[in-house]
Symmetry: C2
Subunit: 332 residues, 2 copies
């Protein structure tokens, strides 16, 4: 089965690039409310499920024990841009755990934010693990590990309780047996489990409406979504779409990008969850697609849509500063 074209890139009058993909929109009962393409096929959610991976941090009592700030909790759910505020927060947090950067088992990479990367080069500072966009998630996992007195070394391995905990939580939230699904390694080293898009969308519908969940789970979700909405910069960074959407919508819409063309959303006003994957892994196309779904579902208000105009139909500018075309939805 071939997924529909969701996003086109135009140069002049011609479609230069086409991006196919699938989108699932579910309610908290797991019912498919809308779908485009094959939502049963297995996809890796990558970083789009970080809010779910942070559930054990709150539910275990670790967040309380270490008196985590709302900014730190948001950072645990982030794919941050490696800007100074992100990295200093991770650094100070690790210190409070009695750890340092060497405890992080994600690999180093250049900060996603270009200015931040250039500033490091000029200071002759090597790109390090703290700059990895997942360093907040890793510090969150280490927080629970320290609280429970587990071995920190090897916390990224699939067998380690730190990984088993979020897999259990995600399984409960998506009605899946995570132990039976295909898996591999993510960019930062932790396991990635392949899941159907509709199961991911169901989990996010339950983030939007946690009413039918156990009180501890519902409380943890409430605290996490409040933290994310209060700290949209911590979840991504300067100029990033996740940050911009939540700066506009607050807690009404919780969105999260994932590598290779994944996006998720919990729509608290619509009682729905969304998960999408662009077949070819293009992140810029996933951004256009998530905005197209939010628009289709009437989730964005007029002023918000206005502020996001250049994101919904993204101008493509060449090296001379000339507009050559647009990246835009094909219309859902």
């Amino acid at each position: 089965m071939s997924n529909p074209v969701l996003v086109n890139t135009l140069r002049g009058e011609i479609i230069e690039n086409r991006h196919r993909g699938a989108i699932a929109v579910c309610d908290p009962k797991g019912r498919l409310v809308h779908r485009w393409g094959d939502v049963d096929a297995l996809v890796y959610p990558r970083s789009s499920i970080k809010a779910l991976q942070a559930l054990p941090l709150v539910e275990s009592g670790a967040a309380d024990h270490f008196d985590l700030s709302s900014a730190e909790l948001a950072l645990a759910c982030s794919s941050h841009s490696g800007e100074p505020l992100h990295t200093t927060t991770v650094h100070d947090w690790l210190t409070r755990l009695g750890l340092d950067e060497t405890a992080l088992e994600c690999g180093p990479h250049a900060p996603v934010n270009e200015k931040a990367a250039t500033a490091l080069i000029l200071k002759h500072i090597e790109f390090a693990r703290v700059h990895n966009n997942c360093s907040g998630k890793h510090t969150g996992m280490l927080t629970t590990v320290r609280f429970l007195g587990e071995e920190t070394h090897g916390y990224i391995e699939r067998e380690h309780p730190a990984q088993q905990r979020w897999m259990d939580a995600l399984g409960e939230m998506s009605d899946l047996d995570m132990q039976r699904l295909p898996w591999s390694r993510d960019g930062c080293g932790i396991p990635v489990i392949a899941m159907p898009l509709k199961a991911i969308a169901t989990a996010f519908a339950r983030i939007a409406v946690p009413d039918d969940l156990a009180a501890t789970r519902a409380g943890a979700i409430d605290r996490i979504t409040t933290a994310i909405a209060a700290n949209p910069f911590m979840v991504a960074g300067s100029g990033r779409l996740c940050t911009q959407i939540m700066e506009l919508t607050g807690r009404r819409i919780i969105v999260k990008t994932g590598a290779d063309g994944v996006y998720t959303a919990a729509l608290r006003d619509k009682n729905l969850g969304v998960a999408l994957k662009i077949d070819d892994g293009t992140g810029a196309a996933a951004e256009v697609a998530i905005l197209a779904v939010l628009t289709k579902l009437d989730s964005l208000h007029a002023a918000e849509l206005e502020a996001l105009t250049a994101r919904c139909r993204m101008p493509i500018i060449n090296t001379r500063g000339v507009l050559t075309g647009y990246r835009e939805s094909t219309g859902l």
Copy 2:
């Protein structure tokens, strides 16, 4: 019509990303020898046709007049990485034309080569027009403009003779009326004309076998392909696939990448031309696809294939240095 999946990216056992596309293989008569997908649809060839755009530079007598080196001629056909050898060659060449960098009408961008970009940042040198991967092509166009005593200012405009000359040559080589095709602006500011893949492949078949062309044209092609094969570094740069292939094959296979998932090849041993476009514009997938076609056509020798193993089936390594999967052909 939906093009076939040409390239997959695997993470673990699961296909994470799929790249559809079309490939045309033609002989010098314009006959389609092989095809995958829709080869009649219009695509922008982008930088993949730079060798054809350099024809007027030789045919006008400008290359002789300014005594261009073989390295400079290769640079006129390049999408270079902005490494010091590329930029100093452009700079010295412009000086010989009585011009400087301000005559270049391409915009500035960071060198494609990361080390070169970092070195500039450390020296507090701003990314400039000379670092644009197209600066060699632009200098080639300026060379002809100077030789013919034309106005240099505005040489990138469609109406300027500098642009009309290559459009005429490309039209002759591809049996198309370039004036009637849709067009827009390329990343560097010059016009891009949308063409069917099979017409692009035909032009490259005639580069492979120029025997039936007029003597001036055949001579220019001979000189250009000799220059490219003798200077594979000048055409791309360190670690680049175009450079690596021609370092291995010499003049037997002339290849050229273009932005947004385009690749072309002139196979002098097989008397064939190849043109391909990945639907979603992913360059890394186009690299895998061009190698799959060359392999399918038995154009690469065993030792060359051996040297290109990690390019044909490209390992994907995460930030921890762990292999997570491969980018590979689906099998043509």
